[in-house]
């Protein structure tokens, strides 16, 4: 028991220690040392996670660590404790594992940045909060992590704070997340008031043992929690921050905005599966929103020209697919996709980072092309990941995406169709990206062409590891013989996924999905390889493409509806309410001032008078004490 507590503390506090060292001494330590410390801190956490994973798989029992009683108000009791069970350790594996790789990558990627130590301190802080989020034993500890990762996301998006656009993007992400956080908080309050606990284990028994639950209220709680998940995991209507978040350095996009933080919503829903299982209406809402998000984001992704924007919309779209699975109660399927997605999307982002690094900051795909020869490792790893995300057989994405679509098919045909269309589009825009970036002739300037080179080993090594994982990651949950489902089985109340039979329907669906993916790739091949099309420059975009290119004008609509009205309200408050209030407040001040001015005339400074009054007061007090009875 003591051992477990120490391990858990080591796991959490190592990144925090790394943060402290980097924040206070990073500058004087120098870039290489600072980066090494940051990477080591996360690597140690990864090693601890491996130990814990080993322990969990051997014993099959969750490790519970309670540090101390935190809040105790009447019958509400909240511990500061950690719960290391199958789910959280699984999450830890890829948070710390991919986190270590991305830290390693950043040493090289950020090497020319003057604030490298700051970057690493933020990254370490992020990992600390992410670990807290994942291993908290109750919703409040999760909330600490939840807010913490939001803060780090804000700091890292606005890392290059000399550019005002980047600052705006950071603010946008933060504010959008606040809306979701409010939902999460309200959900927590409802659950806390219903069951007087926020502890997962206690909550689970309480819900299982309750005879007459207030189901509508519980559904409301579930809906509020889902709003929180929407904000963090970028679902409609709170998704617009994620594409803008690409303003941050690319490793940040890979770590926070693809692999880990954005999956916090899925983690939370999976964690509270016993709550969501009791709210079928909310589950339907989740499924529908997931499907719509996946389709909308995919359509926008079709026409984006910024390499990172394409990947960002792809992330939103994939997250939508995960929520689709969550909505059908297929939690293990969603978790599976989270893992494979973490592998291939981190790889894609890091690959795009390598490309951007090679082109000295160029992100527009129209000015790339032909990089295949100059950057072979980047090309091959990104190709593998693109194949994985497109659902080409035997790559990891094939298995996970197929399972989601399979689940959708069993529950709702329309949503299955939506999901499939989104998948086809995914295949298309991913290969559009590949063809535009790596094939044909280079379209940039001569000087850039001259400087083209493969990135260093610190960049390519993580890429290769991730590419290998993206290839073989699917093996953890093969259809019909799923290690992952067995591993996660203790978490779910229902018998998960009612034992999949691999019948003809399933094989047909698989075939359809594969064909769809290949179709998407084929269209991209014809359009961008055979016909050698290059997307037109911004002025020449017309029609539907223009709508898509401008992201359905969602930002503008939000601006018109919310930002303008809030601004109008602010102006009203500033001009009328504030004036009134300040008159009132200043008036009070003036009255006090005047009273004081009159009152100070009593203070003549004459000691004789003071003594006289003093004696009178003494008389009064003495006679009150002794004579008043």
């Amino acid at each position: 028991m003591e051992m477990d507590t120490n391990l858990a503390l080591l796991l959490v506090l190592t990144p925090f220690l790394g943060f402290l060292i980097n924040v206070f001494f990073g500058k004087s330590l120098g870039k290489t040392v600072s980066g090494t410390i940051g990477t080591l801190a996360v690597a140690i956490s990864f090693i601890v996670t491996l130990l814990l994973f080993n322990q969990i798989t051997t014993t099959g029992k969750a490790i519970e660590v309670t540090l101390f009683d935190w809040i105790q108000i009447s019958n509400l009791k909240i511990n500061l404790g950690f719960l290391l069970d199958q789910l959280s350790v699984l999450w830890l594996l890829f948070v710390t594992g991919i986190g270590s790789l991305i830290h390693l990558y950043s040493i090289s990627y950020m090497h020319d940045d003057e604030n490298l130590h700051k970057f690493f301190s933020y990254l370490n802080l992020f990992v600390f909060f992410m670990i807290t989020l994942v291993i908290g034993s109750n919703l409040l500890v999760l909330f600490i992590g939840w807010e913490g990762v939001g803060l780090c996301s804000y700091l890292l998006i606005g890392f290059w704070h000399k550019n005002q656009d980047y600052n705006d993007a950071a603010k946008k992400a933060f504010i959008m997340n606040r809306i979701g956080d409010l939902g999460l908080l309200i959900g927590m309050f409802i659950i806390g008031s219903m069951f007087s606990t926020l502890d997962y284990a206690t909550l689970k028994t309480a819900i299982a043992g309750a005879s007459n639950l207030n189901l509508p209220l519980l559904s409301l709680a579930a809906l509020c929690l889902f709003i929180g998940a929407c904000g963090k995991s970028a679902q409609i209507p709170l998704y617009t921050w994620l594409p803008d978040a690409m303003a941050g350095p690319t490793p940040v996009s890979a770590l926070i905005h693809a692999a880990t933080m954005v999956t916090a919503g899925i983690f939370m829903v999976t964690r509270l599966n016993f709550v969501f299982d009791l709210a079928p209406d909310v589950q339907t809402v989740i499924a529908v929103i997931g499907a719509i998000t996946s389709l909308v984001a995919a359509t926008i992704g079709l026409v984006q020209n910024d390499i990172k924007k394409v990947l960002a919309y792809s992330t939103v779209s994939q997250l939508g697919l995960m929520f689709l699975a969550l909505g059908f109660g297929a939690y293990e399927v969603a978790v599976f996709h989270v893992i494979t997605h973490a592998f291939f999307k981190a790889c894609l982002f890091l690959g795009s980072g390598s490309v951007i690094h090679g082109l000295h900051g160029e992100q527009d795909m129209r000015k790339m092309g032909g990089l295949r020869k100059a950057m072979p490792i980047t090309f091959w790893t990104m190709l593998i990941s693109s194949l994985a995300i497109s659902g080409v057989p035997f790559f990891s994405g094939f298995f996970s995406k197929d399972e989601i679509l399979l689940t959708a098919f069993h529950h709702s045909i329309p949503l299955y169709v939506v999901g499939s269309v989104a998948s086809i589009m995914t295949a298309f825009y991913m290969f559009r990206l590949m063809f535009l970036t790596f094939f044909k002739e280079f379209r940039g300037t001569e000087e850039q062409k001259h400087h083209l080179h493969e990135s260093g080993a610190l960049i390519t090594f993580p890429l290769m590891i991730l590419a290998i994982l993206a290839t073989f990651g699917g093996l953890i949950s093969l259809p019909g013989n799923s290690w992952l489902n067995e591993y996660l089985a203790p978490l779910f109340t229902k018998v998960a996924g009612e034992e999949q039979h691999l019948g003809t329907t399933e094989y047909t669906l698989m075939g359809v999905a594969v064909l769809g993916g290949l179709l998407g790739i084929l269209i991209a091949y014809i359009k961008y390889f055979k016909q050698n099309n290059v997307p037109e420059s911004d002025e020449n975009i017309t029609g539907l493409t223009k709508v898509l290119y401008n992201k359905y004008y969602v930002d503008e609509i939000y601006d018109a509806i919310f930002v303008r009205s809030v601004n109008g309200l602010s102006v009203f408050f500033r001009d009328y309410i504030e004036t009134g209030l300040s008159t009132l407040v200043f008036g009070l001040g003036k009255i006090t001032d005047e009273l004081a001015f009159q009152g100070k005339k009593i203070q003549t400074g004459s000691i004789g008078l003071y003594l006289f009054v003093f004696v009178l007061g003494l008389c009064a007090i003495v006679s009150y004490i002794f004579l008043a009875q």
Binding site: T604, G605, F612, V615
Partner: protein, 106 residues
């Protein structure tokens, strides 16, 4: 040994102290000369000391007298410092009337 209070009575000492104390207060209020004010304060202190000693005899306990020692030590210190302050005031203002000390004015 006969208790002296059997002949005089504690109440007479109390009255004496009260009157002496009131004379002290009166002096403080009546006079403007800071030195006389000081003397009045000494009178008040002595009134209290006298009462201490009377009650010490009444209770047949020496603690009352011990307090008088401390009160004397404090009085001695107070007078020394107070008079030094008066001297420096007199040097600066050329007068020791407390009416001239109006720095407490608001």
């Amino acid at each position: 040994m006969d208790n002296i209070l059997n002949q005089i009575g504690i109440e007479n000492y109390i009255f004496l102290s009260v009157v002496l104390f009131c004379i002290g207060i009166f002096g403080v209020l009546y006079r403007r000369n800071a030195i006389i004010v000081f003397m009045s304060i000494e009178i008040m202190l002595n009134a209290v000391n006298l009462l201490f000693v009377a009650f010490s005899t009444y209770h047949q306990d020496a603690q009352g007298q011990v307090f008088v020692f401390f009160s004397m030590a404090v009085a001695a210190a107070e007078v020394a410092v107070g008079l030094a302050i008066l001297v420096s005031i007199f040097r600066n203002l050329g007068s020791i009337s407390i009416d001239n000390l109006k720095n407490l004015k608001g």
